[in-house]
Symmetry: C2
Subunit: 428 residues, 2 copies
Amino acid sequence: MASWLQVPKNSPFSLANIPFGIISAQNASRVPAIAVGDHALNLKSFASNGGFSQLPEIQQHLGVFEQQTLNAFAELGRPIHRQVREYLQNVFRADTQFPQILKDNVALQKSALLPLSEVTNHVPMQIGDYTDFYAGLNHAYNVGVLFRGPENALQPNYKHLPVAYHGRASSVVPSGTPLHRPQGQILANPAANPKLPTFSPCKRLDIELELAAFISKPNDLGKPVSIHEAEDHIFGVVLMNDWSARDIQAWEYVPLGPFNAKNFGTTITPWVVLLDALEPFRTVGLEPGNRDSLLPYLREKRAENAYEIPLEVELTNQGGQPTLISRSNAHNLLYSFSQMVAHHTITGCNLRSGDLLGSGTISGKEPKTEGSLLEQTNGKTPIKLADGSERLFLEDGDTVVLRGMAGTEGNYVGFGDCVGTILPAVPL
Amino acid sequence: MASWLQVPKNSPFSLANIPFGIISAQNASRVPAIAVGDHALNLKSFASNGGFSQLPEIQQHLGVFEQQTLNAFAELGRPIHRQVREYLQNVFRADTQFPQILKDNVALQKSALLPLSEVTNHVPMQIGDYTDFYAGLNHAYNVGVLFRGPENALQPNYKHLPVAYHGRASSVVPSGTPLHRPQGQILANPAANPKLPTFSPCKRLDIELELAAFISKPNDLGKPVSIHEAEDHIFGVVLMNDWSARDIQAWEYVPLGPFNAKNFGTTITPWVVLLDALEPFRTVGLEPGNRDSLLPYLREKRAENAYEIPLEVELTNQGGQPTLISRSNAHNLLYSFSQMVAHHTITGCNLRSGDLLGSGTISGKEPKTEGSLLEQTNGKTPIKLADGSERLFLEDGDTVVLRGMAGTEGNYVGFGDCVGTILPAVPL
């Protein structure tokens, strides 16, 4: 799909993608937008200047493009998202049916088409609740081996349900937001003194490479979402770094799970890639989605319950060069987002538009495919960076970039960079 | 404090209280209100008809009473809450300084003063995140004994930090909302088959008697709230029933904590009792708040870190009579809400106005003071109800009422009833 707009061949935002986000330019207020190549299209300007005049189905809903989050647009449902995405692909195609809309409309280009370098990205939806799943089987296994040995690495429930915990919505931040090293209670020397905590900045600060899905259509309290309808409740997907303070976690997590170890920040890419854009990359995850061993409420109609999306983790130390420390793939998941929605709501729990569901850490099976430092170093075997320095966990000044991009040159469907830099702990 | 309005002597909403809530009457929209005796005062009507004309400090903030949640009012901060509460006490006092405002203003009484029986209560704040702590030491001990025996009942971290997990905000409902019995994966016969789950309605449905605090003043990401300033971030307190599906929980909770076992509903009383109203009932909790064994970021200046508030749990089976099944007291907590705020934010986690912090289950040490059925019956020793029927856990049609009221007759400071009825599981 060629465009009249110059779209770099290696851009994650080819015409095959058309992800949605919330931007602001200079001091203007937040507006919905899409990303195309190196540009953002301001959908508020576009809509108010007749940009959607050739799409009758959206006319009564144009108010959604005047909102400061994507929640209202998401709630319109997947058929509308599909029409809007296909229409915008058409508008940007070299052989567009509607050249008068934007291709030949220099005035609208000037007012609505902005270089990505000149806009600020924001968390695209008002997140009601954020839930983090644990569907990365290889990660669960690797961490289980460290804590319980290979015999008992996976808990008995693991292959029967998508394990999850409630996460912290307030501290979900957009890519590029620096985060202070968290501090809290840790065991300074667990072997010598396993029961007396010390107050300290986190010494085992880690990343977790995840995908995350935003909910579009809500469900009422008491009304579970069927596995066969779950996909219609999912708006799209982003990349997520679930920063984790391993030492705080190890001390605090019994018996109710991680809390302060995760609540200080979670970074997401700001462009939501719609499920329709990912559809060509559907594949079978670590086990088929229609496997008989699942209880019926989790059994999908088809086997393909994951996406073929190469992922990578890059670490750059302050003043250093980027080092690619891991390559994984989104197919390394045991459960789909549909299965997560079905499980999450089976009790009657209500999901709202904008709720965020993390996949869990996506690790491969081979060395250098792990989605966390804990798995790669176990706090013992350092990673070598480009300039020769070593890392067991993150140091102050380190910048981590997650990337994910499906498809082929010129037609990539990607998320853009998920970037975060670690600042020193704040003096109390 | 006598009122010109008839206030029943046993009302939880005496003039010593003045709790804030969100009500709607008939088909009107939601408005802020206070409760006095058997009445609600519509603060939107009151404000727009000059009700606050004798309180200069609130004039520039009157817009908060036009909101559909209490978030904006809460964000004004404790000094304003105090002035508004004291002013409203004055307005309702028999010897009010301002008789022209309401006492002698029959027109405003007619438009703004509504019988509680004629209004609908709503969740009073937009809850960003809901966090549930585990500060009820006796509960943690009792449950620990059941799972791990008396030697290891409390985890090593328990007396060093207020253990917590993130809860589900979307399904927090106001008192009176019926809830369907949740369904999901349980082990039908754990002894015989500890690794193969069955799909079933929950068979061990339980309650948890808790207090919960709403956050008023937010803190920025990366800026911990000092223990000495934490109280200024707390708006007020409600009673909470953290319904729990014990069998779903037992199967799902390793290794990340409770999820589906708790996400189907959490019931709160709709009237927020301000900290100032509770101040006369401050007392030392299970251990002093200034104990040396705490790390400094959790150590309070004074010992009094809890409230003396008698609590009770009543269970009524369908067609039966109410049975008082437990009496406890809010002093049965190891940590204060201030300590919870200090711990929650020590990593830099940001709290927002409207965030909800549950205390954890409040159990006494004696029989019949437990805050959950699990502790009282262990699924083995039934509770006898008034009509002779027995309960290990909740049956369909059961109604549970939590109550809590401090003070003495005529001057009670209480929460009102926290009511929930269990409906049958929804057929899939």
